[in-house]
Every structure is written in structure tokens, then in C-alpha cells.
Amino acid sequence: MHIHAYEKLWLAASLLLILFLLGSVTYGAVGPGVAMVTDSEPAIDAGALDEDERFSEPRVEQVGENEYEAYVLAFQFGFQPDPIVVPENSTVTFYVTSRDVIHGFEVVGTNANTMVVPGEVSEITVETDGPAEYGIVCNEYCGAGHHAMEGKLEVVPQSEFDERTNGGDGE
């Protein structure tokens, strides 16, 4: 089969581009450590979330020094807790599930973004910066009220976080 010299050159350049793209993602995973949503969490019964330790009471919990876990419930048409309040400069892992249909969980303007599938728990870990407010939107069509499904993520100073989360406990 005759292949023109320019075409061979083009073919080589194309293969190089493909390898570069694959390499860049691989580097992102092993270098800066960009983690993916994966099957890390076991499946869950979407019909029995009120009996689940984490999702019967959606909340933010401290699990280590400067480490927090947020258990978030998505439903037609909102998120719980709302707002989600986390402290600044901390590591927050979100565990998100749905009690009805497929939703999305997107912290607007960031790469914190995951599908939320009933029967599954999505896990994403983020590093927070300074105090800020972010919108959270459902970015997967979930029914007639989809466009009203929003939430809020508030990154607040540590003192304010302690006040707002522990205030009720009298600490």
C-alpha cells in the first residue's frame, strides 16, 4: 500500500499527539495526584437511607486534624445539608448519594464535580482555600423541577465553623 511521505509524517504526528494526551492524564494522576471518582464506596440501599448512619443525618464531621467529611444527600429537588459549611484551608471529603433519581453535584467554578447515582455513593476529596461561598448545582436532568435544584458551599474561618457546628452542643 502506497502511503505518501507527508501522510506518514502526519500519521506520526497524530500518534505523538495521542500519546502526549494519554501521558498528560497519567502524569496528572501520579504527579499532582488528581483522583477520580471510582468504586471506592460499597453500594447502598437507596430506599433505606433513613437507616444509614451517614445519610440519615446529612452533615459535616471532623475526622482528623484539619480533615472533614461531608455526607450529602441529593434528592428531587435539593441537597442536604444546605448550606454545607466547611472550614478554610482544610481537606474535605464529600460522600454524596441520592434517594431517588440520578443527580449531579457540581461546585460551580471548581473541578469538584460528580454524578450522584441512587444505590451508589460518590466520593470526592477537595482542598479548601480561604473563606468563600460557592454555588452547588445539580447538573444532571432529574425531573420537572431540575432547574430549581441548588445548594451552597460555605468555606468559613475556623472560628466561625466551630461556632456554627458546635454552638448547639454548648462547647
Binding site: 495521542i18 453500594a43 437507596a46 433519581v101 420537572a144
Partner: protein
């Protein structure tokens, strides 16, 4: 057309019955295009907040389902079965074996799409307890009316019989021409249909085994991740099912219009074989953000996806080289000077070239989608519809429209009503799409979600980067309006063309490639081998993920409810109100009867 040889017969002259089928398929396609465009303009204006008076935001999703199904499934598939019928009959130079079968598949496809279409459009009428507001992707546990799924199944079965029709016609030809190479256009049709059989098997299984019985109440629940994965098993290769007919036109028709011929027949075959092999084992790249699917499976899917860039990159080279050859045949010279020696006044040429140019842009945004990590920035944002309005919405749709200006006269013997309006129409599409798609990509980076009636939220404002949210909305609205006008011009021009008298001398021939099929290794024509490898790759890519998904959630779901969007509480309330009203009327009439007595 000047280069037509006087007295040569057109396709319509040689194969009148087949020409009738091609016309019927194309007309079905243009009906879908018209409907899709109407919903398109409604959505553009609604979503951007320019005009929300026509539909409620809750009905936006009915419109969006109609827009997706009519354009992505109906417009594309009807056009391509028409085009493929033409391509097979023309390149084999023999009629179909039995046009009764041909009309059967056409009838099935039309009936199936009508059923699905009715179930969607009924969503606008509150008094009909039927709707299918599940969008083109119909993710469970959102549930459509059973007729939506049944119609899809019938439509797909129709397309399978169409494929069998092409294969049987080719086998008949092969008996008559035992030692000849498969003509290039037929080769392209057969590889595309082989890919389609593999790809659509999954969605057919999903519909027939899970979704249809579930919507009929025969089973209680389904596994959302499983049906979603089976959808994307089909959902990515289906984009190549749309694209490969456009490639067929770019490879075999565009070079001729440019005044030249195809650069290399063997490489065209290689490209189509690559599509057959690689189109399907990539669907999980639509599920990078899905929980319940291991990262490793996602990585394998990404690797396959990146290699799927190869046939498109090769196509870019071959198409440009073929067009350049045409320009130089016409006296073009210089490094880029030949560009001025191309037939830019022909709508079929300019339309296809602009479509190819936009496909390049769509290819680059596709590389972003395919990258597992940067995908997080844009997943399910309006960036994604921005991307596929460049690919299926322009590379495919604009190529089909442009090709119609060339093909329609040959299947009708009627010249196009106005070729200058045609030229204006294709350029207008390009401008409209450039505005709309670019602004959609930009909004996506701001985090604006796709598939929403009201992308503005009460609790926060979007960050401002490439112009603010509002400004980009205006660009989307203007672009969408231009696209609608362009579609109206296309359809109007075609309707006026139908009123033209039949003339002779419209025949066009397609010259053979510079490097002909004899330069291609014989093994390229061994379809059994390629289908075998394609199936193996699909099994390798999907067996473990599907097993893992079923293992996690069960074949029929991990305790997930049913959310029919076709029997909403509002409808129940309406029904109750109606019953009460009827009861009251009954009492009234009873009282009236009493009085009369």
C-alpha cells in the same frame, strides 16, 4: 451543471424505485429536522431568558427530549439510510434485491419514530396521560411511557433490516463479480452498519430486557448504573454512526465537487476499519464521574478513545489533500494560493468545507472531554452540548444539508430552486454555530450546567471570565436564531425545488481515487475478520465492567424506586379534579331531571 455529460442518466433515471426510497428517507429526515429546529429555537430563547412566554420551564424538558430525539436519532438516521441506499446502489451499479423489504424497514423506522415522537409530544398536552420527559439519554429510574421505549425498539429493528438489505445486495453483487474489490462506498456502508449492529445491540437489550418491561410494570426496578452503561455502550458509537455518512461524503463526493478525486482509496478503507474496531469500546468515557465504576475501566476507555482520534486525524489529511489536488487541477498554485481556486460559490462545496473546519474545532473540545482529569471541569456543563453542536450539529448536519444540494437533483431530476440561497444558508449556519457553540463552551468553563430550563440561580452568581454569563447568553440566543433561520431557508429552498419541473442533464459521476483499491491489501475487505476483532475488543472492554456493575447492584437494581415522569402528581390532581367535576355535573343533571319531573 457544466461538467455533466449531455444525455448521461441520473440515479433517478437508472434506478427509479430506489430513487423513490432515497427521497422518502430524506423527506423523513427533513421533517425531523424541521421539528427539531422549532424546539431548538424555543429552547435557545427560553434558556437564555430572552423569551420564556411560549412554554413553562417544566415543559422545557419535553421540548429538550423532542429536540434530542428528533435531531440526534431521526434526522440523522433517516438521512443516512437514504444516503446509504443511494451509495450502495450507485457504487454496485445494481438495484436492491427486493424493494418490498426496503419499504418494510422504511415503514418500521417511520412507525417506531412516530410512536416515540407521539409519546414525547403528548407531554405538552396535560389532558393526555402520556409523556416521555426523559431526554435523549433516558436514564432510569426516570421513567417514560412504554410507547417511548417500544417505538425506539421498533425504530432500531427497522435500521437492522436496512443493514441486512445492504449486505444482501452486496452479496448478490459479489456473486456476479466474484473477484472484484468491494466498491469504496459500499465498503463504507457495510463497515458502518457492522459497527451499528454491535453498538445498538446493547441499547436494544437495555430497552427490551429492562426498560420496556419496567415501564409496563412487569418488573419493579432496574439497576440505574447498568442501564446507563448499556446506554453509553450505544451512546458513543452512535455519534460515529452519524459521522461516518458525513465521512463517506467527504471522501467520495467532496473531492469530485472540488474538481479532483480522492487521494487514497486504501487509506479511506483503513479509516473505516478503524472506526469499526474502536467506536464501541469507549462508551465508559461518558461515565468518568460515575461512582460504582472502577478507575481502571475508565482509564482503558480513555486509552481507546484517544486512539479513536487517529481515523479522524487521518481523514483531515486525506480530505484536505484531495481538495488541494482538485484545486491544483483547476489551475491553483502556491503554498496556500490554491485555496482561491476552489468552487466556493457552490453551496455543496462551501457547506462541506465549513462543516469540516468546525469538526476540527469540535475535535479539540472533544479531546478535553476525553481527558479523564480535565473532564471534571466541564462534565455536564453546557460545554458538552457546545461540543456536540460542532460535531453532530455541524460536521454532520451541515454536511448533510450541503450534500442535499448536490444529491437531490440526481434523485429527482429537478434542479435546486436557488443555489445562491443555498450558499447563504450554509454560511449562515456556520456563523450561527460559531456564535452559539463558542459561547456555550465559554459558559461551560464558568460552570453553567447543561440541560436546564433556567441556568441562572438565586443563591450565587457565576464567575466572570470570557465575558459574563449574561453576555454569553445573548451570543447563544443570536447564534441559535441564525441557525433557525438557516434551517428555514434550507427547508424552504427544498420545498420550492419540489415545484421545479424535471429536466435532463443533471447527472454527476464520481471519479475513482488517485490511488485506487488495487493498492489496498486484500485483507482490508475481509469484513468477517474486522467484525470478529471488533466484537472481541468490545467484549474485552465491557465484560468486566458489566460484571462488576451487576455484582454490585444486582441485575435489577439495588433498591431503587421508580419515577415515572408520565404520571405526575399534578396530573393525578387534575384527574381528581376532573372526577369531582364529573360527579358534580352528574349531581346537577340528576337534580335537573328531578326538577323536570
Amino acid at each position: 451543471m457544466s461538467e455533466a455529460i449531455e444525455g448521461e442518466r441520473t440515479f433517478a433515471d437508472k434506478f427509479p424505485e430506489e430513487a423513490r426510497i432515497v427521497r422518502a428517507a430524506l423527506l423523513g429526515s427533513f421533517l425531523a429536522l424541521t421539528l427539531g429546529a422549532i424546539f431548538g429555537i424555543i429552547q435557545t430563547l427560553h434558556r437564555t431568558g430572552v423569551f420564556r412566554g411560549l412554554i413553562d420551564s417544566t415543559d422545557y424538558y419535553t421540548s429538550l427530549t423532542a429536540h434530542g430525539v428528533f435531531l440526534a436519532l431521526s434526522f440523522t438516521t433517516f438521512f443516512l439510510v437514504g444516503l446509504f441506499t443511494w451509495a450502495v446502489v450507485r457504487s454496485l451499479d445494481r438495484p436492491l434485491i427486493n424493494t418490498k423489504i426496503t419499504w418494510t424497514w422504511y415503514g418500521l423506522m417511520a412507525a417506531g419514530m412516530t410512536m416515540t415522537g407521539i409519546s414525547i409530544l403528548a407531554g405538552f398536552v396535560d389532558s393526555i396521560e402520556m409523556s416521555a420527559d426523559v431526554l435523549f439519554t433516558f436514564y432510569a429510574p426516570l421513567q417514560a411511557h412504554p410507547m417511548f421505549y417500544a417505538g425506539l425498539a421498533v425504530f432500531i429493528v427497522g435500521s437492522w433490516i436496512a443493514g441486512a438489505d445492504y449486505f444482501r445486495t452486496w452479496l448478490a453483487w459479489k456473486r456476479e463479480h466474484p473477484d472484484e474489490r468491494i466498491p469504496l462506498q459500499t465498503f463504507m456502508v457495510l463497515t458502518t452498519m457492522a459497527m451499528w449492529y454491535i453498538a445498538s445491540s446493547a441499547v436494544a437489550a437495555s430497552v427490551l430486557i429492562f426498560l420496556l418491561p419496567w415501564s409496563l410494570g412487569l418488573i419493579d426496578q432496574v439497576n440505574p448504573t447498568l442501564t446507563r452503561t448499556l446506554f453509553w455502550f450505544f451512546g458513543h458509537p452512535v455519534v460515529y454512526f452519524w459521522l461516518m455518512p458525513a465521512y463517506l461524503l467527504w471522501y467520495t463526493v467532496l473531492p469530485k465537487i472540488a474538481g479532483g478525486r480522492l487521494f487514497s482509496d486504501p487509506l479511506a478503507r483503513v479509516v473505516f476499519v478503524l472506526f469499526l474496531l474502536l467506536s464501541t469500546p469507549v462508551g465508559i468515557h461518558h461515565q468518568y464521574l460515575d461512582p460504582g465504576i472502577a478507575e481502571g475501566f475508565k482509564f482503558i476507555s480513555m486509552t481507546n478513545t484517544m486512539f479513536l482520534l487517529l481515523p479522524s486525524l487521518l481523514t483531515a489529511f486525506t480530505v484536505v489533500a484531495s481538495v488541494e489536488y482538485g484545486a491544483r487541477q483547476r489551475g491553483g498554485s502556491g503554498l496556500l494560493g490554491w485555496l482561491t481556486d476552489l468552487p466556493w460559490r457552490k453551496p455543496e462545496f462551501t457547506g462541506m468545507m465549513l462543516a469540516g473546519l468546525m469538526f476540527a474545532a469540535g475535535g479539540f473540545s472533544g479531546m478535553v472531554n476525553a481527558g479523564m482529569n480535565i473532564n471534571y471541569m466541564i462534565h455536564n456543563t453546557i460545554w458538552v452540548p457546545g461540543h456536540f453542536h460542532l460535531t453532530v450539529g455541524t460536521a454532520v448536519a451541515l454536511t448533510f444539508m450541503a450534500a442535499t444540494y448536490w444529491l437531490w437533483p440526481q434523485i429527482t431530476n429537478k434542479p435546486i430552486y436557488s443555489r445562491s440561497v443555498g450558499l447563504f444558508q450554509v454560511v449562515l449556519w456556520f456563523i450561527g454555530m460559531a456564535l452559539m457553540s463558542n459561547a456555550m463552551h465559554a459558559q461551560g468553563i464558568l460552570g453553567v450546567p447543561r440541560r436546564t430550563a433556567e441556568p441562572e440561580y438565586s443563591g450565587f452568581d457565576y464567575p466572570t471570565m470570557f465575558g459574563g454569563f449574561e453576555e454569553l447568553n445573548i451570543q447563544i440566543a443570536i447564534g441559535g436564531t441564525l441557525l433557525f433561520v438557516s434551517t428555514v431557508l434550507f427547508i424552504g429552498n427544498l420545498v420550492l425545488t419540489m415545484g421545479n419541473p424535471k429536466v435532463s442533464g443533471l447527472a454527476e459521476t464520481l471519479p475513482p481515487a488517485l490511488s485506487g483499491p488495487d493498492d489496498a491489501p486484500r485483507v482490508l475487505d475481509n469484513l468477517r475478520l474486522w467484525v470478529g476483532i471488533a466484537v472481541t475488543l468490545v467484549v474485552l472492554a465491557y465484560m468486566l465492567p458489566l460484571a462488576a456493575i451487576i455484582n454490585r447492584g444486582g441485575l435489577l437494581g439495588p433498591g431503587v424506586g421508580t419515577y415515572p415522569v408520565w404520571l405526575s402528581p399534578m396530573l393525578d390532581a387534575l384527574a381528581n379534579a376532573a372526577t369531582a367535576l364529573l360527579g358534580a355535573i352528574g349531581d346537577e343533571s340528576a337534580a335537573l331531571v328531578e326538577v323536570i319531573r
